[in-house]
Amino acid sequence: MSDQPRTFAAPEISPETAPYWEAAERGELLVKTCSACGKAHYYPRTLCPFCFSADTRWEKAKGTGSVYSYSVMRRAAVPYVMAYVTLDEGVTMMTNIVDCDVDDVSIDDRVAVVFKATEGGPPIPCFTPLRDA
């Protein structure tokens, strides 16, 4: 595990997705779900990307999922694990796997959300391995 600090750029917040970032400040991961077709989607939009209904709502995700794919970025000041994680709600999101040995991540690993501070913005949802879960 690296002892060097890793910094994260702040996300730009738009009115469309402000509730997502307000929830992040509370340590909650939100997923948009469509009341018309019942499907969750990611990243969040106002109009459902499946049925195009405007009747979408924010739902709190459990915050657990599995690694769909990942890559350890070596060409960086601090190597980091880029990943896609499939949430238990079914959607797959881009994230980083953190707080672990970068060489000890595998596809299908169970992971849980952990919010990391950004440079001047709201925290972002990273994930950390659930060992012995």
Binding site: F8, A9, Y68, S69, S71, R74, M82, T92, N96, I124
Partner: protein, 389 residues
């Protein structure tokens, strides 16, 4: 699939430079335009349609049309990244069929080396930020680590190995040694590739394409214009274009939009993969080639690793010669966009003008596939099928 009036690629030009410290971006666009006009035997004043993408400086095609002082009846600035020149060929053919123009000029140029752009290894936002940026950029996605996730998933699902991916680079290097303009001309081995430094697991340095300056241009012309020219006519007989992204969160990194564009192009051309004599396949990374070959039907999904191994892509010995100029992996990837040089080498092959050491005998049917953006996030894809008459 309705029939369309054919269009022809009558002029091609690849800029010989790989580092354009002394040239402006507009100058490079104009130089490649002149090269393609000279190749076709046409003049600037014959051009009545102009196509460029986001690599052109200034205000879409307006600035470059002004710089070159073109008199146009048709303009198109469709931006699908590295696949844009292929889309431009398709759109030019459609515009010609619709009577909108008769001589369409397509230019691409860039100078990322001269500008010292950290193309693949630093997070970058190109142009106006997309709606996904707040949900991705803080995690430091780069071109390389996004493609690396594609490779990792392919290995997981299908058992693909780094050694199999390396064969793609090995084949490209066997071709590049015959290209005096290629940036990397040394033949490399599978061991060289897998022992090169890891950039983003599982992609090594030699799994990545080169970063070069320069560019290229194409001229797509009407049948009447083609008949009046001396160069061997290359007919555009199949075209497909599409995009693919994260599918609303149903991310599937195992296939690309070539799975959509290939069948359209094959259907229009009324040919099948086994008819194709030569392929130009977008090669930003080794994995990019593997995924497209599967998606285009040259082998079954998941069998790409076995298909590319043991030199199967090497002209003269392999079953499917690819990127005989050395491709983006060894020759040229100007403006960080590989589609233009893919079309150019396919035209060389169909004219019988590739280097004799890599020329495919009786090459009368070629396929070009381009991607743009990132297979790891969202991308455009375009397929062209070209025929020598």
């Amino acid at each position: 699939m309705g029939s369309i009036s054919p269009a022809y690629i009558a002029g091609v030009y690849e800029h010989p430079t790989r580092k354009a410290t002394g040239q402006s971006l507009a100058q490079l666009h104009a130089e490649v335009a002149r090269g393609a006009l000279d190749d076709a035997g046409l003049t600037k004043d014959d051009v009545d349609g102009y196509f460029c993408a986001g690599d052109a400086p200034g205000f879409g095609p307006v600035s470059m049309a002004d710089y070159m002082n073109l008199r146009l009846r048709h303009v198109d600035s469709t931006e699908t990244g590295g696949s844009a020149p292929l889309v431009h060929v398709a759109h030019a053919a459609a515009a010609i069929a619709a009577g909108k123009c008769t001589v369409a000029l397509i230019t691409l140029a860039g100078r990322p080396r001269a500008e010292n752009v950290a193309t693949g290894t630093v997070p970058r936002i190109v142009g106006m930020p997309g709606p996904e940026v707040p949900f991705e950029f803080p995690f430091a996605p780069t071109i390389v680590n996004a493609y690396a996730m594609v490779a990792r998933r392919h290995m997981h699902e299908f058992g693909t190995t780094s050694e199999q991916l390396a064969w793609i680079k090995v084949a490209a290097s066997h071709h590049a040694r015959h290209n005096p303009h290629a940036m990397l001309r040394d033949v490399v081995s599978v061991e060289d590739v897998v022992n090169s430094p890891m950039i983003a697991d599982p992609l090594h340095r030699l799994d990545c394409c080169v970063i070069t300056d320069g560019g290229g241009a194409l001229l797509v012309v009407s049948p009447d214009v083609a008949k009046s020219l001396k160069r061997p006519p290359v007919k555009v007989i199949g075209m497909g274009e599409s995009t693919k992204g994260q599918l609303g969160g149903n991310v599937d990194l195992t296939y690309s939009a070539a799975a959509l564009t290939g069948p359209v192009a094959f259907g229009q051309a009324k040919v099948k993969p086994s008819d194709i004599k030569y392929v130009s396949i977008y090669d930003s990374f080794t994995i990019t080639v593997l995924v497209q070959l599967e998606d285009l039907g040259f082998c079954e999904k998941g069998r790409g690793g076995r298909f590319v191994a043991d030199g199967n892509l090497i002209s003269g010995s392999g079953k499917l010669p690819f990127n005989t100029d050395g491709g983006g992996l060894c020759n040229n990837h100007p403006a960080n966009r590989g589609g233009m040089t893919k079309v150019i080498e396919a035209v060389r092959q169909l004219r019988g003008e590739a280097h004799p050491a890599v020329q495919v005998p009786n090459c009368d049917l070629a396929l070009v596939n381009g991607t743009g953006g990132s297979l790891g996030t969202r991308h455009g894809s375009a397929t062209l099928i070209l025929e020598r008459e």
